[in-house]
């Protein structure tokens, strides 16, 4: 019996329990002299959940525990020459799993024929489109048969236990129904627990990010020493080959980090003046009509997916910069070769800067408008012009908030992927020339993880080491920014 079918049966049982509970509750409220404590809906929900919850719990525990137990038992039946070391055991057990999947498609008659020797096992399996070598060891076939049998038995037992538990739970719940029974309180407590569990998902996600990346990164650092990764100046991972180990590849973080920071620097150079000045203009000068038009238009930039910016950089900005640099070069020296490459730090920086304009402007706009009116009026009243008020009073008052907005923006620039994948190039080089391509941490994560993955090779695992580095950088920026914002908010509230 498959798990979805069991779930369906349990759901039907729960509906049945709900109906029974409802009928009983109505009967109680008619016959009893005292008023029932809970409304019928709570009574019936209680009966249904009393059956459903324990059964689902059993189902989950069983589904996790039983494959582990079956794996252990079946692995133990493999002869010792198929289990020389971990790799060979994993390989042979993989074959067992493939054969077992094939065996599941066979009818009983076919299995009996194969066991009796009238049909050859490999031929039978290949006829079911199962990729098995002709000389597959009989022990493997037997292990696969054992595994299928155990699986089937386990599923049957699981179904039986679940149904019994559900019936028992519903029955006990039904027995408890009485006019004075506080079903609502039970249900509400359960709801509260569910709500609280849902709110821990944020922590679980963070823990998941840190644990998953740390564990993979640790495996990487077991193959490549940490100092070679963090202080290496050459990025040349070579290709991932199964079983080749880490030799030959060089995993230096420095060129990637330099590229990331260089591009982020150009992006900020482009986004901060434009974003900040337009925020100031919109908050302090613009008439409501201009503001109502310009603010959503600028925020439109924030809603455009980054892949669109990447494409814009690739087909419009990059070629434009390349051609204009060729023209400039020609005008000055007479030699019409371009000195800006189509894929370059500058291209990626400018386009990323465009993407960041709305972040800077809307975050700073919020902060500037939060500065109390009294500060502004005081300054204007003393005869300062508007720009003097802005420069000498408002900006200093809003400075912590603006700094935190800029930090959040910088964290976005560091973590941005699609623009740099398309516009920055893949060459990991250390060069101060912004007109040439450089690559970033995010580009290399994407490069290392697209295509065939080999979770034992450093070429794949390095992506997680890069990921944890990226996570650490952005986390530090975000937390510092949030800390400043919190502190700043308290000042004016």
């Amino acid at each position: 019996m498959k798990t979805p079918l069991i779930l369906l049966i349990l759901a039907l049982m729960a509906i049945g329990a709900y109906v029974a509970g409802r009928a009983r509750s109505h009967a109680l409220s008619r016959t009893s002299k005292v008023k029932t404590h809970s409304r019928p809906a709570y009574h019936s929900a209680y009966v249904a959940l009393a059956g459903l919850l324990p059964a689902v719990l059993v189902l989950i525990v069983w589904s996790i525990a039983s494959p582990i137990y079956i794996d252990r038992t079946v692995r133990a039946t493999l002869p010792s020459d198929l289990r020389i070391d971990q790799a060979s055991e994993a390989l042979n057990y993989g074959t067992v799993s493939i054969v077992a999947r094939g065996v599941e498609q066979l009818t009983e008659a076919e299995i009996a024929a194969a066991q009796a020797g009238t049909v050859k096992w490999p031929e039978l399996l290949v006829s079911k489109a199962v990729p098995v070598a002709a000389d597959v060891r009989p022990e493997i076939i037997q292990a696969a048969l054992k595994r299928t049998a155990m699986d089937a038995a386990s599923h049957k037992a699981m179904a039986a236990v679940c149904i019994v538990v559900a019936a028992l739970g519903a029955f006990l719940g039904y027995r408890r129904l009485a006019p004075s029974f506080r079903a609502r309180n039970h249900i509400e407590k359960l709801m509260l627990v569910t709500l609280a569990l849902c709110s821990t998902i944020a922590i679980l996600t963070t823990v998941g990010i840190v644990v998953s990346m740390l564990s993979e990164a640790t495996r990487f650092f077991a193959m490549v020493p940490m100092h070679e990764f963090f202080f290496g100046t050459v990025w040349d991972p070579r290709f991932a080959a199964a079983g080749a180990g880490g030799e030959g590849g060089q995993f230096g973080l420095i060129p990637l980090l330099a590229g990331t920071l260089y591009i982020a620097f150009f992006a900020m150079l482009c986004a901060v003046p434009v974003g900040l000045l337009s925020a100031i203009y919109m908050a302090e000068y613009a008439s409501p009509r201009v503001r109502n038009l310009a603010k959503p238009a600028l925020e439109l930039l924030a809603g455009i997916p980054t892949i669109v910016y990447g494409f814009f950089a690739l087909v419009t900005v990059g070629p434009f910069l390349r051609d204009i640099s060729a023209e400039l070069n020609g005008l000055v020296t007479g030699n019409y070769t371009n000195f800006i490459q189509a894929q370059s730090v500058l291209t990626a920086g400018i386009v990323m800067g465009i993407m960041l304009i709305p972040f800077v402007s809307s975050l700073s706009d919020d902060i500037i408008t939060q500065v109390p009116r009294a500060l502004r009026d005081g300054s204007l009243g003393l005869g300062a012009t508007r720009s003097e008020t802005i420069k000498r009073v408002i900006l200093p008052a809003a400075l912590p908030g603006i700094v935190s907005a800029l930090l959040l923006t910088a964290s976005r620039a560091v973590g941005e992927t699609m623009i740099v994948v398309l516009a920055a190039g893949v060459a990991a080089r250390l060069s101060p020339n912004p007109f040439e391509p450089m690559t970033t941490v995010t580009v290399k994560i994407v490069n290392q993880l697209t295509g065939d993955l080999e979770f034992t090779s450093p070429q794949t695992l390095v992506a997680f080491a890069l990921g944890i580095t990226l996570f650490a950088i952005t986390l530090a920026l975000n937390i510092y920014a949030l800390y400043i914002v919190r502190k700043y908010r308290e000042q004016y509230e």
Binding site: T306, F312, S387
Partner: protein
């Protein structure tokens, strides 16, 4: 009365120079900077949209060539076996049928290999499968001549749309003079036409630009959006209700709060790494599946939804809660019967904006293997599929001219979806917004 003294005692010209002119000039300059900055921002927006639309609007029409195709028996069923096994029809020589059709229509000798090569190059390779499917669906066509509209090859399509520079010498041009001449003949006879490009919306991936479409990617995106909606709305709302209404103020809830704010700012690619390592490597889910993509995007959008939901729960005035509690409702009843319905428009608005964000997200999907060549429609979320933004990424990496047009077309489609979702959110807010 010192004021009066200065005013009357001194002539106006002799007033102390307090640099008012300089200060006003600075004021004007500063104002101009602001206007320039805003103009620059808006200029970039316009440039971006113009660049995409001008390159992409032509992707919505496609050139087709109508040819008289004769399904000659000796080419599609040489051994006359279709009576017993209709499947033999699928093995016919459809390239030859097209060549004969072209020869008949354009009037060249089919044995003239040079002309034949140039002529067949005008028809998309996908036309062969189209003819095959047509014949298999209707075997009675054998021996008959039918006028069939076939997709033109990508370069011919570009030339027909006037995108190929004809001043370039013929040797370096993708479209030869002879082909241009034929195109003119066909166009004058009304056999070379531009029609609305339905293939863009129904086809799957293809290495030939003229036959490539967004259908599979849109399906994958739809599966993912459904997954994200079904998971993130209830979980997000539940988490927000707990944090906003029940959670005691202690270190744990403080930690959760910081966590949510931080997760909203974690780079999306990190979620891709999380999905790869937890869902695919650890839990053994299939790579390239829309379900995994949906789960990753759910984790990514949850913080946004939680933040929006908490804001709209906060906006419900406390008097509503007090009234319900005063009439004897339990706290849970107060929230689920009174507060939540009032907060729902705001919650849905936040959810739609979160979904729109998830729809355009590309980077995490690349890591979980959704960047794949998928030509068949996925029937379930567990089958390999791609997504709209990933399809854009894949096309953007193709070198051919016609793919640039497709990419821009796909971007227009994606942006249209996003605009529709955002408009929906705005309308929802307008319609149900309450001012307390």
């Amino acid at each position: 009365m010192s004021d009066a003294v200065t005013l009357t005692g001194m002539p106006a010209q002799a007033r102390r120079d307090i640099g008012i002119k300089r200060r006003y000039a600075a004021e004007r300059r500063f104002r101009a900077y602001g206007i320039i900055a805003m103009a620059v921002g808006l200029f970039f927006l316009a440039a971006l949209i113009f660049s995409v639309v001008s390159k992409g609007y032509t992707a919505f029409v496609q050139t087709t060539i109508t040819l008289p195709i004769e399904f000659t028996e000796k080419d599609v069923d040489p051994d006359n076996k279709r009576g017993e096994n209709p499947a033999v029809l699928a093995q016919g020589d459809f390239a030859k049928l097209i060549k004969q059709g072209l020869a008949k229509r354009l009037g060249f000798d089919p044995s003239d290999r040079k002309s034949a090569k140039l002529a067949t190059a005008m028809i998309s390779d996908s036309a062969r499968t189209d003819l095959r499917d047509m014949l298999v669906a209707d075997p009675s066509l054998v021996g008959k001549t039918v006028n069939v509209s076939l997709l033109a090859e990508g370069n011919i399509d570009s030339a027909n749309k006037g995108q190929i520079d004809l001043s370039v010498p013929e040797a370096r041009r993708k479209v030869k003079d002879k082909q241009l001449e034929w195109m003119k003949t066909l166009r004058d006879a009304g056999d070379l036409t531009k029609a609305f490009n339905t293939g863009l919306f129904t086809n799957g991936a293809s290495s030939r630009p003229e036959a490539a479409g967004l259908g599979v990617a849109a399906m994958g995106s739809l599966f993912m959006m459904v997954t994200v909606f079904v998971l993130s709305l209830p979980i997000g709302v539940a988490a927000s209700i707990y944090l906003e209404e029940f959670a005691p103020k202690n270190r744990l809830t403080d930690l959760i709060e910081v966590n949510i704010n931080n997760l909203a700012a974690v780079p999306s690619i990190v979620y891709g790494l999380l999905g790869l390592s937890i869902f695919i490597n650890f839990a053994g889910m299939p790579r390239s599946a829309a379900l995994v993509g949906g789960l990753v995007l759910t984790l990514m959008t949850l913080p946004t939804i939680i933040i929006a939901t908490r804001a709209s729960l906060k906006a419900v005035p406390p008097s509503i809660r007090s009234a319900a509690l005063g009439l004897g409702a339990s706290k849970m009843q107060t929230i689920f019967h009174h507060v939540l319905p009032l907060a729902m428009p705001g919650i849905l608005t936040g959810t739609i904006i979160g979904l729109a964000h998830a729809l355009g997200e590309t980077a995490p999907l690349l890591l979980i293997g959704m960047v794949a060549f998928v030509a068949d429609f996925p029937a379930t979320p567990l089958e390999p599929s791609t997504a709209l933004p990933v399809q854009i990424y894949m096309w953007a990496n193709e070198a051919e001219r016609a793919f640039t047009e497709r990419t821009s077309g796909a971007i227009i489609v994606l942006l249209t979806f996003l605009i529709l979702m955002n408009l929906g959110a705005i309308l929802l807010r307008r319609r149900f917004e309450r001012r307390w």
